[in-house]
């Protein structure tokens, strides 16, 4: 059984910092499809549309019938561990730091045999396992076999923890803790076992219902942070920048402003928070988090951005807001590319309308702040990179992938 994670000791300040190394990143374009599915927590493999063969690794033709009609489809990871081995040596810097590693071959019930990492609780071959796809520190999919049934402390396995960002014992910054979403996220981090949750507060003179109760929790520490103010962001980074393991950017400015409503002030204010705020945070906190990405006992691990499903396709009735979220999405993709060199996971969250005061006239279903917070915790625990929480987000992302143009027209009247 995996030993339960114990709260990590602070790093010995005179020992050298372990610098981030990465598992080998090169993957073929077709193998990136495995990565794309793993980014959303799914195992997808190539299925032959003609004969039904499921194959791995991916190829340009079916290994059984040579058909080119290969489709990537979600695949059940249940299977049999047929052989296992322990890797003691590797020439890759990343693996050298992590040996011994358990590897094995699993025959999926769906057909193909896969070379996988073995979670420590998997029984020796032959045994039943579940294979799932996770993103590794390079942001590429790797396959991990878990025991058929959950075991105690399963998530505390060192290899799994390398690929996930469970908030347990971690130090978390929630950039704006006053609105309902920020409060819910901060609370969810406390409940998920975070060691410290720093909660940013801008414009402290504004009252927020429920906020006082949050401030009374012992894990919560209120810090001044206004993402529209370069100085404020830098000053906070100067104090806690070297300690934040998970940064969750909940700061959001949202008004129902269309592009023909008069004035640019609302749009500018939205851009100051939703786009430039993220940029300021990235510049102030990004470099320190990158350096600490491999710190032995308690590394920096994840950066979460609260975007909107309308970052993908604009909602004209919230026109300027959609535009800032699209800008933030583009920025976040770039941030992910920058943070990848250290293995910091950048998680993008694309909710549909949240049940808050700025979506009063949006008909249900709307996403409750608590549900959004739970989705963020789940994404961190499962190592998921792109999250579409709630029915509306799921529906819109599906329609977006079917036809972006059809969706664009359908959103005109919403």
């Amino acid at each position: 059984m995996t030993p339960a994670l114990i709260k990590p000791k602070p790093r010995n300040p005179v020992s050298a910092l372990r610098l981030p190394t990465l598992p080998p990143p090169a993957r073929s374009r077709s193998a990136l499809r495995l990565t794309a599915a793993a980014a959303e927590g799914r195992l997808e493999l190539q299925h032959c549309a003609d004969c039904g063969t499921v194959q791995y690794p991916s190829r340009s033709a079916c290994v059984t019938c040579l058909s080119h009609r290969l489709e990537w489809r979600e695949t059940n990871g249940a299977g049999e561990l047929i052989s296992g081995t322990v890797l003691h040596h590797s020439n890759e810097l990343y693996y050298r730091e992590r040996v011994p590693l358990r590897l094995g071959t699993v025959r999926l019930d769906a057909g193909p045999a896969l070379l996988v990492h073995l979670q420590g609780d998997c029984a020796a071959a032959p045994s039943r396992v579940r294979v799932s796809a996770h993103l590794d520190k390079s942001g590429q999919a790797v396959l991990i076999a878990l025991p058929a049934e959950d075991t105690a402390n399963m998530a505390d396995d060192p290899m799994l923890r390398e690929m996930t960002s469970d908030p347990k014992f971690r130090k978390v910054l929630v950039t704006d803790g006053k609105p309902a979403v920020g409060q819910a996220v901060a609370m969810a981090m406390v409940e998920a076992g975070a060691d410290i949750v720093w909660v940013g507060v801008a414009e402290p003179w504004k009252q927020a219902p429920g906020f006082d109760a949050l401030t009374k929790l012992k894990q919560i520490e209120i810090v001044p942070l206004d993402v529209t103010d370069e100085k404020s962001v830098e000053e906070l980074a100067g104090v806690i920048g070297g300690k934040v393991d998970i940064l969750i950017n909940t700061a959001e400015f949202h008004r129902t402003h269309t592009v023909v409503d008069r004035g640019t002030e609302t749009a500018r204010a939205e851009m100051e928070v939703n786009y430039l705020g993220l940029l300021r945070l990235a510049q102030a906190f990004g470099p320190a988090m990158r350096v600490r990405a491999a710190e032995g006992s308690a590394p920096a691990t994840a950066w979460v951005n609260l975007l909107s499903i309308h970052a993908l396709s604009a909602l004209p009735s919230h026109g300027t807001f959609s535009a800032t979220k699209a800008a933030a999405f583009a920025l976040s993709q770039n941030l992910r590319a920058e943070m990848r060199h250290a293995g910091i996971r950048v998680v993008n969250v694309f909710p549909g309308p949240i049940d808050d005061e700025w979506n009063q006239l949006v008909p249900p279903p709307k996403l409750a702040p608590v549900a959004l917070a739970e989705a963020i915790v789940a994404a961190l625990r499962d190592g998921i990179e792109d999250v579409y929480p709630g029915d509306v987000a799921q529906d819109i992302v599906t329609r977006f992938r079917e036809s972006a143009k059809v969706l664009e027209r359908e959103l005109w009247d919403q």
Partner: protein, 260 residues
């Protein structure tokens, strides 16, 4: 008028016989800006972003870009700021007569009352009582309401919001009309974030100081500091807004000249 007057002033300034009192708050992102209900467009807060600081962005020099609303920090309200003053002549920051930027100041000490009651209202009776002690408010003078509010360095205490809105002292409607109609003042200045009281949205008419002062072409100053360093009468206030084309107001470096 003799040229000696100005050299005498210059001499007194150099020798310290005339003090220069800084009536301005420091412009920084820490100083709170006015808050309107969220359905209205907001005044942009004061922000500084570095262009370079002797670094790769500019090796030998340090400078910043600024952004802020016209009504940020210690600032001047021009008559055009309010709808009641919108059609008056010379009602904008670029057209107001520069002579009005230097004028005598009467300081009404309301600090004790404001300490007791954050919603304290300055009335015409208070003004008459002040005149009984210090003489009639002269035409063309600034009337400054000292509340010691500027000493609240905590922005939460300075803004003083609760669920019923803001609680800061200010003048009532009759006091404003008295100053405009019976004393012909140049304008009204406060240490709080507005020339009107925090609850003035509920008054009849709402925002009487903005309504009557600007409706009569008079000015406003807010977020003043150091009014406790001024005598009740005799100080000269210097407050010149930036010359913004058709501007409704501007941050100012407000100064007062006072003798001991």
């Amino acid at each position: 008028m003799s040229a000696a007057l100005l050299s005498e002033l210059a001499g007194a300034l150099a020798a310290g016989g005339v003090r220069v009192v800084d009536l301005s708050q420091t412009l920084s992102s820490r100083f709170p800006q006015i808050v309107l209900p969220p359905e209205f467009d907001q005044c942009a807060p004061f922000r500084v972003e570095e262009i370079s600081r002797y670094d790769e962005r500019g090796p030998g020099w340090y400078w910043n870009n600024l952004s802020f609303g016209e009504h940020t920090g210690t600032h001047f309200d021009a008559p055009v700021h309010w709808i009641s003053g919108r059609d008056l002549p010379n009602n904008t920051t670029d057209t107001m007569p520069p002579a009005s930027f230097i004028a005598p100041a009467c300081v009404i000490d309301c600090s004790a009352e404001s300490a007791r009651d954050a919603d304290f209202l300055l009335t015409a009776e208070h003004l008459r009582a002040w005149e009984n002690r210090h003489g009639k408010v002269p035409a063309g003078a600034w009337v400054l309401m000292r509340s010691d509010w500027s000493k609240r360095s905590d922005p939460v205490a300075y803004q003083n919001f609760d669920e019923t809105g803001q609680h800061t002292p200010g003048p009532d409607a009759r006091a404003v009309r008295f100053l405009v109609e019976e004393r012909d003042v140049l304008g009204f200045g406060t240490e709080t974030i507005g020339t009107d009281a925090g609850q003035a949205a509920q008054f009849r008419p709402p925002y009487p100081c903005h309504t009557f002062m600007h409706g009569a072409g008079r000015y406003g100053l807010q977020c003043l500091a150091n009014l406790d360093l001024l005598p009740p009468t005799g100080a000269v206030l210097i407050a010149a807004p930036l010359k913004i084309l058709r501007g409704s107001g501007s941050p100012v470096r407000a100064l007062a000249l006072a003798t001991d």
